[in-house]
């Protein structure tokens, strides 16, 4: 598969379809995002589930792709993107962060093993260019951890989360790796929502403010959980939130640039209670 990716990247670069390829580069055994501007470098282009491309850079609090586009608006960038990365790009475009006209996506599929490791429900991009679609997994029913949690009583579940969140060392890593966390005035940093300067950060508000804020944006990449130094099972809560958003609003983040996000639309015009989500 990597050979196909390199070949296509070379074709795009040499055919001037794009000015550069945004992908992962391997050097001395280490892998990291890199912008390939020269076809001769493509031997180092690699694919890996470990890194995503669209990180929010800090302190500018801007997505790396958005930064690139702002620095050089006329550069057309080809991106090697998995399903979750394509969803991130779509959601970022929907929210005015990146310009998809200046992007050409090379959608690649994840293997069934990769999908399982990431607990991914949709391990392929909508526009699949390379690889074979692994099956889509419906909902969260297959997740043993989630089922075990849902079988507990409400107070047990609260205790579970209280324990998990009490480990938090406030690194903000979950926010920092999230492609959808780009707010300049991040609410997690604000004293009014949760007390600053203390460990563990206020339970549950510090985390809940993010859970709420990201609920309908979450594209399910699981990077937050992987960035957590104390192993808080963040993907568990986000999978449940994604399920609820789907059930309540029939909405799934990152599917369609034109589809408006429910929390962006309903609050202004119409109170939520007047919405009658399908299937309720």
């Amino acid at each position: 598969m990597i050979r196909n990716v390199r070949d296509l990247a070379k074709k795009w670069l040499e055919g001037k379809e794009v000015d550069a390829i945004f992908g992962l580069k391997e050097q001395d055994g280490y892998i990291a995002p890199y912008l390939f501007a020269d076809a001769s470098e493509l031997d180092n282009l690699t694919i890996s589930t470990e890194y995503r491309l669209c990180y929010t850079c800090r302190p500018p609090k801007e997505n790396i792709l958005a930064l690139m586009q702002r620095r050089e608006p006329n550069t057309k960038i080809g991106i090697v993107a998995r399903g979750c990365e394509e969803r991130a790009l779509i959601e970022l475009a929907k929210r005015g962060q990146v310009d998809l006209d200046k992007v050409k996506i090379m959608g690649i599929a994840c293997t069934p093993e990769e999908a399982k490791e990431c607990k991914c429900e949709r391990p392929y991009p909508s526009n699949l260019v390379i690889g074979v679609k692994s099956p889509r997994v419906e909902g969260v029913s297959g997740d043993e951890n989630i089922n075990a949690l849902l079988n507990k009583s409400l107070s047990e579940r609260l205790e579970f989360w209280r324990h998990e969140l009490s480990k938090c060392i406030k690194c903000y890593g979950c926010r920092n790796v999230c492609p959808m966390c780009f707010c300049k005035d991040c609410k997690m940093e604000q004293e009014v929502f949760s007390k600053t300067g203390w460990l563990p950060p206020e339970i549950p508000m510090f985390h809940f403010i993010r859970f709420y804020h990201i609920s309908e944006r979450c594209i399910g990449c699981g990077q937050c959980e992987k960035a957590c130094p104390v192993d808080i099972p963040l993907l568990t809560i986000f999978r449940l939130l994604r399920r609820d958003v789907k059930d309540l609003f029939d909405y799934e983040a990152g599917m369609d640039v034109e589809q408006e996000a429910p929390l962006l639309t309903t609050l202004d015009e119409m109170p939520i209670k007047e919405e009658v989500p399908s299937g309720v």
Binding site: D19, A20, F22, K25, D28, G29, Y30, I31, A32, P33, Y34, L35, A37, E50, Y51, Y55, T56, C57, R58, P59, P60, I64, L67, M68, R71, E72, T75, S166, K167, I169, K170, C171, Y172, G173, N176, V177, E189, E191, K195, T196, G197, W198, L199, P200, E202, I203, K226, A227, C228, P229, V230, D231
Partner: protein, 714 residues
């Protein structure tokens, strides 16, 4: 357009996390964790995540500065100068003092700088200046570890590796607020806990880890030897010692046995305040588990009994056979990115690189041969001694690289007195620190992101630091500055083209680093001892024999001694100091980082609700804290994190610097100051009052306390 990610090593604590610096068109735009790194595994703490911000601060030094004493006010202001002018000025001055008496010059090297730079700085002091007066802030944090573990085990470093903690059955954390000071090491303690390990926390304060502890023993500050002896008394009384290990691998057991027999749980309770049943239970748990690790840090080292505390921890580990196996050992956590390396490189007044003694004629001959010059024999001065001698006028000139003793050293008023009394002071740094402001010449240095080199983490792991961006203005890497200065002083032994070349020289002279070469490090770090180019490195020490000359570990019978200054009627509180997760040391880097300032913008004094009630203090109210050294004004933070009678002040904040107050009394051998205990008094200062008056006691839940917002949001 160019976008790349440069892998490097974090410039904060000694955990040695790696991350990528994101570089877009030559500009630093952020930090990405490295998933394949052994310790950090794609995770970072808040400081690591924000480690790119101070690099691009507008306050960075970009040109050499020379202080003019002939300006209108006559009080000296800095003017920009060329490199030639600045280096000539320094070289001329240092030559003058060298001719009169080389020992009238003192040099501070830096635990923030690379191994190569520390090696060059100690070579510069010894070979060019002709003095062994070279030291650095390790003196202030783990000098007692180096001495204590050497006398017990023969090697003064962390015995095991960080990730091994995850598989320990019992972890004894004493004097380490691991979750705040070494967050990514706490990760492995928490993972061990989730796997069922027992966690024993011995700390006067209720630290973050105590939420998860099976036993939290709150000793009176400064009574650690009694705690260790109590543990060993219980173990021996119950026959839980590892008899075979003691017989085969150690010496001095009878002496230990004789000493600890007096430390019955009842007696220890009287000294430490730890209930005897709790002590017995914790000691029994430690002794009965298969793989027990001791983790410690400044809470036991920064005492006049620092060496005693460290050797006592070694006693306990040997008594139970918990050395020389994975997931066991005595694990000092080093506080700075390269404090281990700066020690390894011999930026110490008594040893060359690899702890080779300057008083050993064979060692000295080896270095004289390599450096083609005669070297001084007399032991040099330590950090605090340098300041004392400067105040007395015996040290006349100082050269300081990347350290800020004006905040970091004990009894700052005395430090200022010493530094101001110098006839000449040169400082190389990335910012105009409180110390640099006192200098006659300031040289602008490159930060970690702008140079190449290596750092050695707390687990003896030597790792690459890689250049991501160009240094600002005319600033240069510290190794280049030292070479330029040495050349300006006429030396021909500083002709290095790159840090790799310096490492080759280090490897040729330092047995524990003999196998270390850049080519190998590019694919990952190596843990010393690494004696040959084929050697894979050493994850844990003392496997078959100890590093002492006869191969045995040595027990030391150590009696408990009280701290140098105890509370009395006039100064009724015990003041203890330390770091917090959101800031680092003297704040030179973290206080230039927006998010960290948002979390904690200034200092405070933690005080127990019962004590606050007696003083009729409200949370957030300004108080004056006084000791026999000085006084500061700061805000009261009322919390059960500290026990009654104890107050705690973080030392990062220049405007309310804890080290105005601390006691410069030294451990007699390691010369480490007693930052962790001194006597203090506290009173309402009548300064500006917070907006909210609250009558105490304040109800608090441990781990998630109420906290007055006025404390941090001004």
């Amino acid at each position: 357009m160019e976008y790349k990610n440069i892998l490097t090593t974090c410039p904060y604590c000694g955990a040695g996390c790696n991350f990528y610096l994101q570089v877009l068109n030559g500009e630093l735009v952020g930090v990405l964790p490295c998933k394949s790194h052994t310790v950090s595994q794609g995770k970072l703490c808040i400081k690591g995540w924000n480690a790119s911000e101070f690099v691009t601060s507008k306050e960075r030094l970009t040109r050499p500065l020379i202080k003019r004493h002939d300006d209108a006010e006559g009080n000296g202001s800095f003017v920009e100068a060329s490199w030639d002018e600045a280096l000539d000025t320094i070289a001329k001055k240092l030559k003058e003092y060298k001719e009169i008496d080389p020992d009238s010059i003192a040099v501070l090297s830096s635990a923030k700088c690379t191994n190569e730079e520390n090696y060059l700085m100690m070579k510069f002091a010894r070979a060019v200046l002709g003095t062994n007066n070279v030291d650095h802030c390790a003196r202030l944090c783990h000098a007692s570890t180096v001495v204590g573990l050497v006398q017990s085990f023969g090697s003064g470093a962390m015995t095991n590796s960080i990730t091994e903690l995850e598989d320990a059955d019992c972890i004894l954390v004493i004097g380490s607020n691991t979750a705040e000071q070494h967050p990514l090491i706490a990760r492995y303690i928490l993972r061990a806990k989730e796997k069922g390990a027992k966690l024993i926390v011995v700390d006067p304060r209720a630290i973050t880890l105590t939420q998860f502890a099976d036993y939290h023993l709150r000793q009176r500050p400064g009574t650690d030897v009694a705690v260790f002896n109590g543990f060993m008394n219980v173990i021996l009384a119950n026959g839980l010692e590892d008899k075979e290990f003691i017989k085969e691998r150690t010496e001095g057991f009878e002496e230990l046995k004789e000493t600890v027999k007096n430390y019955t749980p009842e007696h220890v309770e009287k000294i430490t305040g730890i209930p005897k049943d709790k002590l017995v239970a914790a000691a029994t748990t430690y002794a009965k588990t298969e793989h027990a690790s001791i983790v410690y840090s400044m809470g036991i080292t920064q005492h006049t009994t620092g060496v005693d505390n460290v050797s006592s921890s070694a006693n306990l580990a040997m008594l139970t056979g918990n050395v020389g196996k994975p997931s066991t050992g005595v694990n000092p956590l080093r506080g700075q990115n390269n404090v281990q390396g700066a020690c390894d490189m011999g930026a110490l007044p008594n040893v060359y690189s690899g702890y080779q003694s300057v008083t050993d004629e064979k060692m000295r001959a080896k270095f004289e041969d390599a450096w083609k010059t005669k070297l001084p024999q007399k032991l040099g001065l330590t950090v605090v001694e340098m300041m004392n001698e400067a105040a007395k006028g015996n040290v006349k000139a100082m050269y300081i690289m990347g350290e800020n003793p004006m905040i970091s050293d004990p009894d700052i008023s005395h430090v200022r007195e010493g530094l101001e009394n110098l006839e000449f002071l040169a400082v190389q740094d990335i910012f105009l620190s409180e110390t640099a402001q006192l200098a006659d010449v300031v040289l602008p240095a490159a930060s970690y992101a702008e140079k190449e080199g290596t750092f050695t983490s707390t687990e003896r792991l030597v790792q690459m630091v890689r250049k991501a961006i160009e240094p600002p203005g005319e600033s240069k890497a510290d190794w280049e500055i030292i070479c330029d200065l040495a050349k300006a002083m006429g030396s021909k032994e500083f002709e290095y083209k790159s840090p790799a070349e310096i490492m080759d020289e280090i490897a040729s002279l330092t047995p524990s680093y003999a196998g270390i070469v850049y080519e190998r490090l590019q694919r990952g770090g190596l843990q010393w001892p690494c004696p040959s180019k084929e050697h894979p490195g050493t994850p844990y020490l003392h496997k078959e024999k100890f590093a002492r000359a006869n191969g045995k570990g040595k027990f030391w019978g150590i009696e408990f001694k009280e701290p140098a200054e105890l509370p009395d009627e006039e100064y009724p509180f015990i003041l203890t100091t330390g770091r917090i997760i959101f800031h680092f040391h003297t704040g030179t880097m973290t206080r230039k980082t927006d998010l960290l300032n948002k979390e904690v913008p200034t200092g405070y004094v933690e005080i127990n609700p019962k004590d606050a009630e007696k003083l009729a203090l409200a949370n957030g109210e300004f108080v004056s804290v006084q000791t026999r050294r000085g006084q500061i004004e700061t805000k009261a933070l009322i919390t059960e994190r500290v026990p009654e009678g104890v107050i705690f002040i973080p030392f990062h904040f220049a405007e309310c610097a804890a080290n105005v107050l601390t006691n410069p009394a030294l451990d007699p051998v390691a010369k480490i100051p007693e930052y962790k205990v001194c006597a203090a008094k506290l009173q309402k200062s009548g300064g500006a009052c917070p907006e909210r008056y609250e009558i105490l006691p304040l109800k608090q839940v441990q781990g998630c306390p109420e906290r007055d917002s006025s404390l941090r949001s001004e």
